[in-house]
């Protein structure tokens, strides 16, 4: 299978850099899969799991909280506001993230902001359920 370069960077560090087969992105307008030779595009991301497939049948999940994905001829670059690999996730971290998102929800009166915060809470709850906590 054809591969392409994928880079995942958060403000604090580079989390992933290398050749991969496919990446599933939690884009704001629905999850999408990027394969090699994808047309150039840019999309914003919501809270959710990003799945990296570097060898067939071997996926790695990373929890993303907001950010951008940029697909260009050179490959895919994801700028995540916060990124946590699934293996580093614990219940406490998730609970804290949920609490933060809920606080964001309560703090704003802006309707669109409320919507994004609400979606983030739902996504995080889902993530928690998916990890069997």
């Amino acid at each position: 299978m054809a591969t392409f370069t994928f880079e995942l960077v958060s403000p604090e560090r580079v989390l992933f850099s290398g050749a991969v087969d496919a990446v599933v992105l939690p884009a704001t307008e629905g999850d999408m899969t990027v394969l090699a030779g994808h047309a150039p595009m840019m999309t914003s991301l919501k809270t959710g799991f990003l799945v990296v497939t570097d060898t067939p049948g071997n996926g790695k999940r990373i929890l993303i909280r907001g950010g951008f994905a940029d697909v260009s001829q050179t490959g895919l670059t994801v700028l995540a506001e916060r990124a946590l690999p699934a293996e580093e996730l614990t219940q406490e971290i998730l609970d804290q993230e949920i609490l933060q998102a809920e606080m964001q929800y309560d703090a704003t009166n802006d309707l669109t902001m409320k919507h994004t915060a609400e979606a983030a809470v739902a996504q995080l709850r889902e993530a928690k359920a998916a990890l069997n906590y």
């Binding site: 595009m41 840019m42 050179t74």
Partner: protein
Amino acid sequence: MPSLKDLRNRIASVKATQKITKAMQMVAAAKLRRAQSAAEAARPYAERMSVVLGNLASGITVGPETPRLLAGTGSDRVHLLIVCTAERGLCGAFNSSIARLARDHANRLMAEGKTVKIICVGKKGYDILRRQFAQQIIDLIDLRSVRQIGFEHGEQIAQKVLGLFDQGEFDVATLFYSQFRSVIAQVPTAQQIIPAQIEAGASSTDAVYDYEPDEGEILTTLLPRNLTVQIFRALLENAASEQGARMSAMDNATRNAGEMIKKQTMTYNRSRQAMITKELIEIISGAEAL
């Protein structure tokens, strides 16, 4: 001529000082390693961000709908200077060189008849600038209690700046910080952050980009994010520079103290020997006189 006791005291005090400066140097070296790796880890994000922003902005024509963070307010009457310095002193010319750059900039703007507002990040810069610009300083952000600078601190400052911008408090914002080159080289830098400066078309390809959601919406979320990233990066670079500057300053201080101890010990030994010789001569001549 100081007495032997004076010399002894002086040597002891310089030795104590040397111990302190040496310890500070070691601490700075340890902190530097951490700060440097944090600053280097943050660079890729900031670089990618500016590339992405460059790609996006090169395809956009400046019009009335362009976000004001990119296009500016249309005037440059009120300037905001964000001066990032350290919270502590004893780091050579680090704080004063940033403050000097900011002061020159502010003086030039004021000579042109512009209004200047200053936000100080870090107490040392505030202490220096307060003397001349007491009226212009509108805020002081204290990071004294912060051990490791995180993204949220950059965010906090960015929120404040964006709030002021939305209220129309200023037209142009410039960020002052020290760029970390190496342990001995820190470069005070002024960087304009509002309106955003875009490295135009770093990789302007002919390929048609798809935007999801549309361009304008991405840009309106990307620009504040970019501001946060720039401020965050400045804070990290500053932290690394501060430790680097402190390390070399303390290294110099330790070396100077060593030289001083050597000189004082020499004087001490000379005068001790002179005293012994004098006493011997007195005894001998006393014995001869008998």
